[in-house]
Subunit: 662 residues, 2 copies
C-alpha cells in the first residue's frame, strides 16, 4: 500500500482544503458545467492555463532546443488504416461489464479491484488492523448503503484475494470473467450481477469527408504521426542518425470511467519524443558522458518481483554498465526527464523511475521505465520511457509498401542476388511521359517480396499493376515490353536498416496535477492559509502589486509600476481591495504569485518599494530598478531568493502577517 501523501511541510494532505483552493481560484473545472458537466473533460482556468504554458515552454527549451530535436505537429484526426496497422484498432481496448438492470458500464479490472479491495478493507477492520482509506468519498458513501458491517475473511480467502490483486494486470478478458463468477463480484453500488466482460475500443471514432467513406479516429497518441513522417525527418537531418522528433499535441481516449482529477481524462496534452537510433550502434548516446555521474532513484523489475518498493539510488553510469538500464540512450533520457522535473518544481523526494515488469510491456518493447510522481493518489506514471525497437516503422512499411528506412554507404561493398524491376526507357517514355520519374521512384521503392509477387503475375498475365502513390490514380499498368522483373546479381554499396526508437512520452496533465499537489501547503497562524509554492519560472502570475492602503496618492506610483512591469514583460496582478494587506497577500499566495511589491508611504518619499517572498513572507526594500532586475533574473531561473537576500537589505517593517514562515 502506498505511503500517506504529505505536503512539503510534512503535514498530512488535506484534500478538501486543496480542492477548495483549486475551485475558488479557478484552476480547473469540468467542462460545460451549465449543461451538466461531462466526466473526463476539464477546462483550465487562468492559473492552470498559464502554468501549463510555462511548463510547455520549459519543455520546449529543455528538449527541443537544447537537444536539437525536430519539432513536429501532426494531425489528430487519423485514418482508420493507420491505427489498424499500429494495432490500436484491435488492441486498444478495455474490458467492460454491463450492469443489465441499470445499463451502467463498469471497467472489469476496476470492478474486480474495487470489490476485492473493499472486502479486504472490511476484513482488516474486522481484525482490528489499521485501514487506509484511499477511496473516492462519494463512491464510498454510495457503497456504504450496501455493506455496513466489517466482515472477517478466512485466512485462505484473504491470501487468494491478495494474490488476485497482485496478478490482476496479467488477466485476459476470459480470466476476468471467470474471477467475477467465482468470487460473486457484483456492481458495488446496485449489488446487481454483471454481464461477462467484453472488449470496448477506447478510441473516439469519426469520419472524414461528406460521404463518410474515410472512417477515422482521434489519435490515442502522437507517435504514429511521427513515424509516418520518418522520411521527411530523415531528409531534414541530412540522412544522419541518431535523430529525434518531438511533438506536443493532444490525444484522446474514450475512458469509460474517467476519474481522479487530471489523472484519467478523455482529452489530454502529450509531449512525445521519438529518438531514432541505429540498432547496430548499441544505442550509445553522444552526450552520455555528460550525465554519467547523475544519481537516479531506480526501482527495477527484480526488486518489484521480490515485493520491494524502495528504489536504489544509483548513478546512471553504473545502471547502464550493469545493464539495469538497457542502454545509454534510455539512460540519458531518464536523466534529462529528472532534470526537467526538477526545473519545473517537482519535489525530487516524490519522484522515482520504475521499470516495467515483463508482462507490462508491449511484446516488441526492449525495455521500459516510467517516471512516476508521488501524489495523493499514490505513485502515478507521468512519463513513459520505452524502447519500441523497430516495431512501428516495420509494420507501417509492410502495410504501405513505402520504405521507412535509413540507407547508408558501406565501407566495404559486397554482392547479392535480388529482384530488380527495370523500365525499358525507349518504350516507357512515350507511354508514361511526365510520370516516368514517379513510376521509376515507385519501382525502386518496392520491397523484394512485392517484386517477386509482381514477377509471378507478369509471367502469367504479361502485365502488372504497380502502385504509384504520387499518381492521381494511385497506380499504373505496365506490360512486359515495358517492365522487366528479373533476379539479378547486384553489388551492394549501401546498407539499409530500420532504426530502433526510444520514446519518452510525457502526460502533461498528470505532471501538472502532481506539480500542483507538490506546490500546495498550508501556512499555520491565526488561521490556516493555503499557499501554492510554484517556482518563479513556472508561476502563472509573477508579481502581485499591493498599495498599503486605499489612498489616491498612490495612483501615480501604481501606474508607473504597471508600466515598468509591462515593459519588462512580467505578468502581474494589482490588488487594491479594501481588506488588510495581510489578507491580500494570503489570498494571492493561493495563486502562487512568487513576488509581492508593496507601495507604501516611504515609496511616496522616493524610498523604493518592498519586495515580498511568498514562501518565507520575508521582505527586502530596494529601488524599482533593483526590484525589477531581481524579479526578472529569478523568473528566468538565473538566480533564487537566496541571491536576492544576499544583495538587497531585508525590510523589517511592522509584522503584518502573523503566520508561520517556511
Amino acid at each position: 500500500m502506498a505511503d500517506e501523501y504529505k505536503t512539503r511541510t510534512g503535514d498530512v494532505f488535506n484534500r478538501e482544503q486543496y480542492d477548495s483552493l483549486l475551485t475558488r481560484k479557478q484552476f480547473l473545472w469540468q467542462s460545460f458545467e451549465p449543461y451538466g458537466a461531462v466526466k473526463g473533460l476539464f477546462d483550465y482556468g487562468p492559473p492552470l492555463e498559464n502554468l501549463e504554458a510555462e511548463v510547455i515552454s520549459i519543455w520546449r527549451d529543455h528538449f527541443i532546443r537544447h537537444e536539437r530535436m525536430m519539432a513536429l505537429k501532426c494531425s489528430m484526426l487519423t485514418p482508420y488504416k493507420v491505427l489498424e496497422t499500429s494495432g490500436h484498432v484491435a488492441k486498444f481496448a478495455d474490458y467492460m461489464c454491463k450492469d443489465p438492470k441499470t445499463g451502467e458500464i463498469l471497467r472489469a479490472d476496476h470492478l474486480i479491484k474495487d470489490v476485492i479491495e473493499t472486502r479486504l478493507r472490511s476484513d482488516r477492520e474486522a481484525r482490528g488492523e489499521k485501514v487506509e482509506t484511499e477511496e473516492d468519498p462519494k463512491l464510498k458513501k454510495k457503497k456504504a448503503k450496501l455493506s455496513k458491517t466489517a466482515t472477517k475473511l478466512d485466512d485462505d480467502v484473504r491470501k487468494e484475494y491478495e494474490y488476485l490483486l497482485a496478478t490482476l494486470d496479467d488477466c485476459t478478458g476470459d480470466d476476468m470473467g471467470a474471477l467475477i463468477k467465482k468470487h460473486d463480484i457484483r456492481n458495488p453500488v446496485t449489488n446487481n450481477e454483471v454481464e461477462p466482460p467484453v472488449p470496448v475500443n477506447l478510441m473516439f471514432s469519426t469520419q472524414i469527408g461528406a460521404t463518410g467513406r474515410e472512417p477515422a479516429f482521434l489519435r490515442p497518441e502522437t507517435a504514429q504521426g511521427q513515424f509516418l513522417s520518418f522520411n521527411k525527418l530523415l531528409e531534414f537531418s541530412d540522412g544522419q542518425l541518431p535523430m529525434a522528433s518531438a511533438c506536443i499535441g493532444y490525444s484522446f481516449r474514450n475512458e469509460l470511467s474517467p476519474s481522479r482529477g487530471l489523472l484519467r481524462v478523455r482529452e489530454f496534452l502529450m509531449a512525445e519524443v521519438e529518438h531514432f537510433v541505429d540498432p547496430k550502434s548499441g544505442k550509445k548516446h553522444p552526450k552520455f558522458a555528460s550525465v554519467r555521474e547523475v544519481k537516479l532513484p531506480l526501482l527495477d523489475r527484480n526488486t518489484q518481483s521480490a515485493g520491494g518498493s524502495t528504489p536504489q539510488i544509483m548513478t546512471i553510469g553504473e545502471a547502464v554498465d550493469t545493464k539495469l538500464v538497457d542502454n545509454e540512450t534510455l539512460g540519458y533520457f531518464l536523466v534529462r526527464i529528472m532534470q526537467f522535473m526538477d526545473k519545473i518544481g517537482i519535489d525530487m523526494t516524490k519522484l522515482r523511475f520504475r521499470q516495467h515488469m515483463a508482462n507490462e510491456m508491449a511484446h516488441y518493447a526492449a525495455d521500459c521505465w516510467d517516471c512516476e510522481l508521488f501524489n495523493s493518489y499514490g505513485w502515478i506514471e507521468c512519463v513513459g520511457c520505452a524502447d519500441r525497437s523497430a516495431f512501428d516503422l516495420t509494420v507501417h512499411e509492410k502495410a504501405t509498401g513505402v520504405p521507412l528506412r535509413v540507407r547508408e554507404n558501406l565501407e566495404e561493398p559486397y554482392e547479392v542476388e535480388e529482384w530488380q524491376a527495370n523500365l525499358n526507357k525507349k518504350k516507357s517514355g512515350p507511354k508514361l511521359r511526365q510520370d516516368q520519374g514517379k513510376v521509376e521512384a515507385a519501382l525502386l521503392a518496392l520491397t523484394q517480396e512485392m517484386k517477386e509477387k509482381l514477377s509471378i503475375t507478369m509471367a502469367s498475365e504479361g502485365k502488372v499493376e504497380v502502385p504509384v502513390a504520387e499518381l492521381e490514380s494511385g497506380k499504373v499498368e505496365l506490360d512486359k515490353d515495358i517492365l522487366s522483373i528479373v533476379k539479378e546479381k547486384r553489388k551492394v554499396t549501401t546498407r539499409e536498416y530500420t532504426p530502433n526508437v526510444i520514446e519518452p512520452s510525457f502526460g502533461v496533465g498528470r505532471i501538472l496535477h502532481s506539480l500542483m499537489e507538490h506546490a500546495f501547503w498550508v501556512r499555520k497562524g491565526d488561521e490556516a492559509r493555503s499557499v501554492m509554492s510554484f517556482k518563479p519560472t513556472v508561476a502563472p502570475i509573477k508579481v502581485l502589486v499591493v498599495p498599503l492602503q486605499k489612498d489616491t496618492r498612490f495612483a501615480g506610483l501604481l501606474s508607473e509600476l504597471e508600466q515598468r512591469l509591462d515593459d519588462a514583460q512580467l505578468s502581474f496582478r494589482v490588488d487594491q481591495s479594501g481588506v488588510s494587506i495581510g489578507r491580500r497577500y494570503a489570498r494571492n499566495d493561493e495563486l502562487g504569485i512568487p513576488f509581492g511589491i508593496t507601495v507604501d508611504y516611504e515609496s511616496l518619499e522616493g524610498k523604493g518599494y518592498t519586495l515580498r517572498d511568498r514562501d518565507s513572507t520575508k521582505q527586502v526594500r530596494a529601488s524599482l530598478d533593483e526590484i525589477l532586475e531581481a524579479i526578472e533574473k529569478t523568473c528566468k531561473g538565473k538566480q533564487t531568493w537566496d541571491d536576492i537576500y544576499a544583495k538587497l537589505p531585508v525590510f523589517e517593517g511592522k509584522v503584518e502577517e502573523e503566520v508561520e514562515k517556511v
Copy 2:
C-alpha cells in the same frame, strides 16, 4: 479582381519555386503520406512548427499578458446539446452538389463561382482583354480538356454573370439550385450535370462514453467553451467588467473541398478572445486614448457596395468618432491586431481591414471587421473581429436555466413586482436535508419566465419538478406545502444584465500561410536563390554556424560556440558540409535563419567571428560576447540590424556571394 501578388522585392510570385522550397525544407506536408495523403490535414515540419510556436508566444505576450486577459483552455469534444443551442447543429452547413456519375461532392457556391469565372475568363480572352490567372494550375489542366477555345459571351450575359458573382454570397440553397439549372452549370472536370444542392453539416461527430448515449462533436470554434465558463471568469475578475478571456486551441471543420494549402483545412489552431462589456457602457475601452492616433487601412461597407476596393487610411479615433467603426472596444482591437501582425513580420502593405456587408454577418452581430492579408490567393480573412452582442450568453442561459449574467449594486434602488419561489424551511429541511442549499440556489437561479410556468403547474397539480443541476437526479419534486411561488413586490438594489461580447478570432494557420509568403523572395545572382526573411523574433532557427572550410583546427572553437549559444538559449544549426560557404549560406537562407556566424582562420587567432545578415548578406566582425549580445537583443525585438551596423565594424572580406543584396 485581385491584384497580382508580388514578393517583397516587387517580383511576381513564383508559386513553383515557393512550393519547392516548402517541400525541400520540410515546412509542411499532407498528413499520413505513406497511406496516401489525406486532404485538408497537414503536418508541420521543424521550420513551421517552430515558427508557429514563436508566433503563439508573441500572441500570448501581446494579448494575454499585456491586456491582462484570462487565459482559458476549453475542451474540444463538445456535447451535442451545447452546439444545438449555439445554432451550429442547424446552421453550420455548406450546400453541396453531387456528381451522380462519379459520386464526387462539390461545394455549390464554389462550383458556381468556378464555372462562371471560367466563362468570364474565356470571354475576356476572346475579347483580347488581359486575363489574370489565379486558378489552381492542376485544376486548370483538368478542365482544359473540356474547353480549349476562348468563347465570347453576349454583353448581357457577361453583365448577368458579373452580377451573379457579386451577389452569390446572398444566395440560399434554393437560389443556387436555380442558378445551376438556369446557367447549365456542370462539374467542370467531368462535364456531368450535378444534383441539386443539399446542406451538409461541417462538424465532425463522435460519441462520448461506451454506450454512445452522449453524442458529441469536435468543436468548430473555441468560443462556446469560453461562454460556458462565463461565471468562472466573472468570479476570477472579482465581478468586474470589462473582462476578457482568451483561448488558443484547435477547432475542426469537415471541409468537403479542402484546398489552397493552409487556407481551408479540417483541423486548425485558433486564438480567440471574448471581451465582455456592459452594453450600457457604450462599449468604451479604457485604453482607447492610447491608440486614437493610429492609422489603419479601412475598407468599409459603403465603399464595397459602391464597387470600391481601396481602403481609406484613417486614424481609429476618427473612424470611431464618425461611427465608421461601431465602438471604441472594436476599434481598440483593430489597432492591437494590426500591431500584432507588424510584430510577427506581416507586410503592412498587404494588410487591410474589411467591414462585413450586412448580409455577411450573423443576424445578432452588431458590426464585424475582418483583418485580411494579401497573398497569392488574394485577400484572405485571417482575423475576424465581431461584436456578437449578447447572443451566445442569452441562448445558453435560456437552454440551461443557469444565469450567465453580471449583477452589480445600484446606486439608486427601486421597487418591482416579481415571481418569487420560497421554500418553507421547516418542512423542506427534513425532506431535502443536505440538498437544501443546492435547491435554494437552483430556485434563486430560475428565470421569471420559469417561475411563472412553475406557478401555473403548482396551481393545477399541487406539485412541481424543479431542475437542480447540482443533484445527481438533476431535479427535485416539491409540493405546495414546501414551495410557494408567488408574485411579490421586491426592492431592487442590484442590476442584472447580460454582457455583450466583442470577439477577435485569429486563424493561426492562415496567418502562418501569409507570413511565409510575405517572408519569401528570390535573390538574383549567378542563380536565383530563395530566401525566407523571417523577423529574428519569429525565425524558427536563430543562428547558423559555419566553419569556413572543413578543418579539424576549428573543432575547439565550434564546440565553445555551441556551448555559448546553448547557454544563451539560442537555437542554432551547424553546417559543416563540404560545399562552398556561399552555397551553405544560401541553403540556410531558405530556412530563414537570420544570423550566420562564420568561424574562419582569423577566429583561430582570437580575432573574433563574422556575423552575417541574411537579408543584406553584409557581415560585421566582432568578439563572441558582442556577437551574442547583438543576436540576443535582436531576437527579443529590442533592436534591429541597423543598431548592429551602428555598433560593430562591417567586415569587408572577399566577396563570397555573387548575388544581389537587398
